[in-house]
Amino acid sequence: MLNFIVNNKEVRTELPPGSALVDYLRDVLHLYGTKIGCREGDCGACTILVGDLKNGGVKYETMTSCLMPLGNANHKHIVTIEGINGDELTPIQTELIQKNGTQCGFCTPGFVLSLYGFCLGDKPRILENAVEAMGGNICRCTGYKSIERAAGAIVEQLKPMGKSDQVQWLVQNKFLPGYFLEIPERLRKINVGKVVEIKDSGCIIAGGTDLLLQDPEKAIESEANLVFGAKEYKQIKFVGNKCYIGAASTFTDIKESKELNRLFPKMADYVKLVASTPVRNMATVGGNIANGSPIGDVSVMFIALDAVLVMKNKGKTREVTLKDFFAGYKKVNKDPEELIEWIYFDTPDGKTLFSFEKICKRDFLDMATVNSAMRVVVDNGIIKKASFAVGGLGPTIRYLEKAAGYLVGKRIDNQTFKQANRIAQTEITPRSRAEYKRSLVRQQLFIHLMNFSPETISLEALR
């Protein structure tokens, strides 16, 4: 029995935990404000808020309800557009109207909820972050500028809001209905002493973003082993010189992690290229690896870090190098019930440099055409260690051993790039759009080296 709060109402359901939340909202609760535009997390029309107890209050994040397993709503506060509506329009609704931010209206509730995600989030309340909050919402009518203008006006209105007690402020200023103030207490009541309990068997479902897209029937029909939000695996820790990332960490956790951004100063920028805000709030590191995608962004990054997976099956733990984990297109060396617990890698030191590149058809909210990551250790201008992982070239992510091997002992300059590229090209056999993908590998290799040593490498190397 699942038990949670939808808007101002406590609900219970025995529907399969692997079914999509959006169907429950629309078909059972008849909350038609949540729209279905694509069922693949690519349009944002079904965006909702999900509130979970944290530090005595409730932390809200946006998620796309088409890819959210119903079971992941358990013990949470789900907010749809109907849960925002009061007798009067809220300032967000008013601004969208005033700035003509709605035309056909089908995408609009999703945008409203994304803007609420922005208001309720922890990030600085500047326009850039409001736009990022809406990065998963597609509008085909307005061209977005009017929506951006509305967001700009909302940013202005939020200026007096403090960094804590946002809900209080938002209720006082009529952004949210009053019942939000009682939600923490109500959630505590249904949530008392309950934590996510990982089972030994069943279909492992984390964020659901891949499973509900690829195989919704399996998600509904299998016995679900829900692991989303499991606290023990939703953390980043350091043991010796190893950095461990819990498999249940979401992309948002990675993006916002102070530790990871200290180790990899551009980590937030890299992760911003992965999916969109609501999907990043759901998708987990473990899930991105387990689905065996040949363009998994996280996998590409971690392979270049020579990362190792820690997996558990019926109490037994084993480790496998990430680059050896992938067996074929969407196939991995893992028993279906085996749980990825951790991924760890050597904590980079001052001499380690890391770079990630992703080129797609559209810069944001898109799958990579080719993505790649490179890690080098440079001492006195000489590369001491190198690894280079590339996605998008075939059934699995490629670890370009020879090209990386060549780099060891070299200085970064045009000659080194040219030779490394020649070698890399012999290691790859792109199956589709081969010319373009080979070109992308060359360009990305160049960009990585340029990132590492902009003074010693020049555009001439590409001509």
């Binding site: 038609y32 404000g33 729209k35 279905i36 535009g37 694509c38 693949e40 349009c43 029309a45 557009i81 509506n85 329009l89 967000i92 969208l96 109207i97 003509n100 709605t102 035309q103 056909c104 209206g105 089908f106 995408c107 609009t108 509730p109 409203v112 736009v131 809406m134 990065g135 597609i138 509008c139 085909r140 009518c141 061209g143 977005y144 500028k145 009017s146 951006e148 029937e217 590149e357 080129i359 797609c360 058809k361 559209r362 810069d363 944001f364 898109d366 799958m367 590229n421 020649r422 090209q425 010319e435 373009y436 080979r438 070109s439 060359r442 360009q443 160049f446 960009i447 555009l459 590409l462």
Partner: protein, 757 residues
Amino acid sequence: MINIDSRTHVRGESIYVNDIPLREDTLFGVVFASPLAHGKVKSIDFSEALQIDGVEGIISVKDIKGENQIGGIIQDEELFADKTVDYIGMPIALVCAKTERIAKKAVSRIKIDIEELHPIVTAREAYAAKKFIVPSRTFKIGDTESEWKSCAHIIEGQAEMGGQEHVYLETQGAYAYLTEDDGIKIHSSTQATKYVQRAAAKVLGMPMHKIEVDVNRIGGGFGGKEDQGTPWACMAALAAQTLRKPVKLVLSRAEDIKMTGKRHPYSFDFKLGLSKDLKIVCYEVQCFQNAGACADVSPAVMERTLFHGTASYFVPNARITVHSCKTNIPPNTAFRGFGAPQGMFVLEAALMKAAVTLGVDMMEIQKKNLLSEGDRFPYDQEAKNCNARKCWDTAWKTFGVEKLKKEVADFNQKNDLFKKGVSLYPLCFGISFTKTSLNQGRSLVHIYSDGTVSITTGVVEMGQGVNTKILQAAAQTLSISTRRFTIHSTNTSRIANPSPTAASSGADLNGKATIMACQALLARLKGVACQELKAQDPGDIEIKDEVIYHKGRKTELTWARLVFLTEEARVSLSEHAHYATPIIHFNKAMEKGHPFAYHVYGTAVTVVTVDCLRGTYNVDLVKIIHDFGSSMNLDIDIGQVEGALLQGIGLMTIEELLIDQTGKLVYDDLSSYKVPDIYFTPRTLEVKPLDSKPDPLALLGSKAVGEPPLMYGIGTYFAILKAMREFNPQLKLELWAPMTHQKCLMSLYDNYGDLLK
């Protein structure tokens, strides 16, 4: 005035087909479609699918009591494939079950045996095989054959333009159920209630009056629901008729993309002749239109390509030919711009090639050839109130194009890894359905005894704000508060035989009809007022802000009181009016006439930055001078310009419709077919109205605005190309839209061959 729908939109309370509360017993339909692009159907086996618990029936050609025919312009489109399949995604049957999930499962159990035939995928292949939808057509002006010799420069080449998926956020869908005495009511997400009603009547073997089609609003259409809302509505209605239960059919996004037609891909051969001083002397173009497997509206799209083949330029000698080629892909259909973007793009491509070849600034050629007052289009209409030059000059001055060009040049000099490009695009777009008979609008206005008013017209609201404009026109005509109005759903029982909401014409046609209805009501109300005030002449009576005036003097009589008295006097408070655009005509045999009520003009300035390492780009700035006539609602009109612009930029850049040799769409869902997102929109966007005259044939002088601004996106393509040439001046000029990231990178570096050495 703000869009009247926006309050329910932001509250998520607006109702689309999928939000209509369901009747008990409703069944859910899922379409079983052809997996192959071309073949003969040998056998279909439904038995396993029918055994699934919850499956109530599988509807196919055998259930059709009328005709298996839904074609519009030409009767060449089957509702369900019968003996042959002609494209991947062609509907074969509709599985109806107690839930959508069961229906989906059953679809996967249907077995079909098809003898595969060779599919034709591209327009040029079809042309070679002589497969046409309709005979080719040519527009001519002057005499190209004799004038080529007077040209100082002749530029020839080929160009390509890809199609575009509509991605209306609300997918296609319908909900149908039986009414009393074997009638059928259909809620459809369509831009054309008449087409749905007419086709359903034919398929169901019923008279039209038994079928009621209702559209509350649609979640975006862009032309994609002009003809193509019809099949799903017919299937739902046929299933409801056969199974005698309500049936809902809403396509998933993947089904919608796979099964429905798109903007037509075109291929071109062009030849352009310029004089020594860069005036266009001659222009010839062969356009190969990829129409898909059946006609749909392709013949009309073809026509608009012909009409807009000379774009915003004066071409004294032109010969424009379009071949509508029949292929094995889904029937391509209406999409904002309707063939015009293709016709305009190829001429612009020819001008770009001329500029590159001659080493001159493209803007110089563009400017020299802009239309002037009184110039004739190839179809013989004269350019009247021609604002082409005025828009160009105003944009040049207002947006400081000289300075922009200098800034871009400076930037390019200082930067190796990023290059900028700047372009201007001059727009000219004709308003009216090119098929003259479609240019009629209808409105039904009721005044209730409490003084409130309801309006139903033939137009469908799809986000373009047309209902708001109609309300404004009515409120202004009656001079009463906008709060007194409701605009009702578009419904065939209230408005018969409406033209589709298309061709940017919905507000003009139906708004003018509304004004006519209001004027008739006003005349009757004034008559009653005249009696009540014991005045002599109804002409002395005026209504201003809900108060009745006599000879300019305010009286005690108010709107509400007058309405009450009118009813008491047994005078009708209802009026239906019909409007037909005057002046327009076209002789198809001669290919000459005066097809357009008026033209819309504008000029867009675009600046882009190309990332020359990644082959990606950003649109830094678009600034537009647009000819709104005299806009009756700038909020809505600017929204239309901004939205159309971004759709046009998407068309020219990232939206890639790729069809492989088997006729399969390669990018067939939203994770692979990418439309502009919020990050893709221009960093700076400014739209300024041209100081222009109100047009008498436009609603309240406010020119139609739905389609024209889409073509400003063409400017982005050429700005990117110019930036790319800054990085690689030698690049091979491939005039092939869209400029995807792939094409951009591959053109920036023409040394691909060196990679493997």
